[in-house]
């Protein structure tokens, strides 16, 4: 029976890149240390700052919230979880339960927004009535709502659960289509645009997908191991993920090289053209004219709903006593 290279207890995992075995406790610490290293190396969060972590109920958000909650004391930041109920039938119900249990177990406040309560419909109906693909509508909605919540809560950063595998794959996908502007957004953090967009951080930047899974599993945290019913298994991303992992299997460490080198060169990629402007309907970030969320909801419901989402989040935050003092009157 293999033993932990640190404490000689029975090993539960083998870290191929380091050629060593670890017990449960030391495996958890190994992943937490990776998250701390990423936070420090890329200057993700400062003392006294407020971080809003997007939680979906899946393994990555479980690892994200748990590692951040363990580090928040030592690094001196405040952590709030945020969950969006997307109205995707049973899947959303299960993921909401997982997210709520997770936050309760970790003692992290969780703000949960039910899309149907604001829009009267969830992603499936929204996609149908706006006649746009599910995954693209879902992506736009999540991006918008998470940013809106961060703005309303006065957060200094939004933490996303993208792991190293995700980043490596988006990088390759964008490279294949030579979408260099898209690559420019794959760094470990993006900047805040005062008043309209809160910067995003990716604390799991150096954590492999498998490590994220094992962390959730070994720490005994609730997470939903189920896929969104709309996920398309034939999509290029899935193929690329398998390809990257075959490479990793042959040359352990190659994924880590991809993401750390990308982070180093991120500034060399061209930023998307066009000015950053304010959506005339909701006041948040847009790339000119109305933002995509206000456009989607206008098509589906006859009016832009960004402002409604912002109001609803503000009300929820006030109920939970989460509005920051400097904001409470504005």
């Amino acid at each position: 029976m293999a033993k932990c290279s640190v404490c000689q207890a029975p090993a539960v995992a083998y870290v191929r890149v380091q050629r060593r075995y670890l017990c449960r406790q030391h495996y958890l610490e190994y992943v937490e240390a990776k998250v701390e290293r990423a936070i420090r190396r890329y200057g993700m969060v400062g003392r006294g700052q407020r971080v809003l972590a997007a939680v979906s109920g899946g393994k990555d958000s479980s690892t994200l919230l748990a590692t951040l909650s363990r580090l928040s004391g030592r690094l001196g930041f405040e952590l709030i979880g945020f969950y969006i109920h997307l109205g995707i039938y049973d899947y959303s119900e299960k993921s909401r339960r997982a997210a709520e249990e997770l936050a309760a177990k970790l003692g992290v406040p969780l703000l949960a927004l039910d899309l149907r309560e604001v829009l009267g419909m969830g992603i499936p109906e929204l996609a149908k009535t706006s006649r746009r693909p599910y995954c693209s509508v879902c992506g736009s909605v999540k991006r918008y709502v998470i940013n809106a919540a961060a703005v309303e809560l006065g957060a200094d950063a939004v933490a996303l659960g993208h792991n190293a595998d995700d980043i490596a794959v988006y990088n390759m996908k964008s490279f294949l289509s030579q979408d260099l502007e898209a690559i420019s957004k794959l760094g470990a953090k993006t900047d805040t645009v005062e008043g309209v967009a809160v910067g995003r951080i990716r604390p799991l930047y150096l954590v492999y997908e498998k490590e994220s899974f094992l962390y959730s599993l070994l720490s005994g945290l609730p997470f939903l191991h189920e896929e969104c019913p709309f996920v398309d298994r034939r999509q290029l991303e899935v193929e690329l993920k398998e390809a990257v992992n075959r490479l990793e299997d042959k040359s352990p460490g190659i994924k880590m090289q991809m993401v750390t080198r990308l982070a180093k060169r991120i500034g060399d990629y061209p930023r998307p053209r066009g000015e950053v402007s304010r959506c005339p309907s909701c006041g948040l970030i847009s790339s000119g004219g109305e933002c995509s969320f206000c456009r989607i909801t206008r098509r589906a419901l006859g009016r832009p709903m960004g402002m409604e989402v912002r109001r609803r989040i503000r009300a929820l935050a006030a109920e939970m006593g989460l509005l920051r003092a400097s904001q409470s009157h504005s």
Partner: protein
């Protein structure tokens, strides 16, 4: 010493019987299923197996794909 192990694929939920002879390593089992250690984890009684741990005839294991798609 020929035999099969019962494998449940997660998240698909599909179950299949895999010929494991007198026992195969977790790593080998993943290979036979067209996967590798980066993509999936083999669990027995909910606990992850190390790559060299053996899956034996009569075992019930879960092969959990760690790739998130959505």
């Amino acid at each position: 010493m020929e035999g099969r192990a019962r494998v449940r694929l997660v998240p698909e939920g599909r179950e299949l019987d895999v010929e494991v002879g007198g026992g195969v390593t977790a790593r080998r089992l993943l290979e036979e299923l067209g996967m590798n250690e980066e993509m999936a984890v083999v669990l027995r009684d909910g606990a992850p197996l190390l790559p060299e741990d053996r899956v034996r005839p009569g075992d019930r294991v879960e092969v959990v794909r760690v790739l998130s798609g959505g």
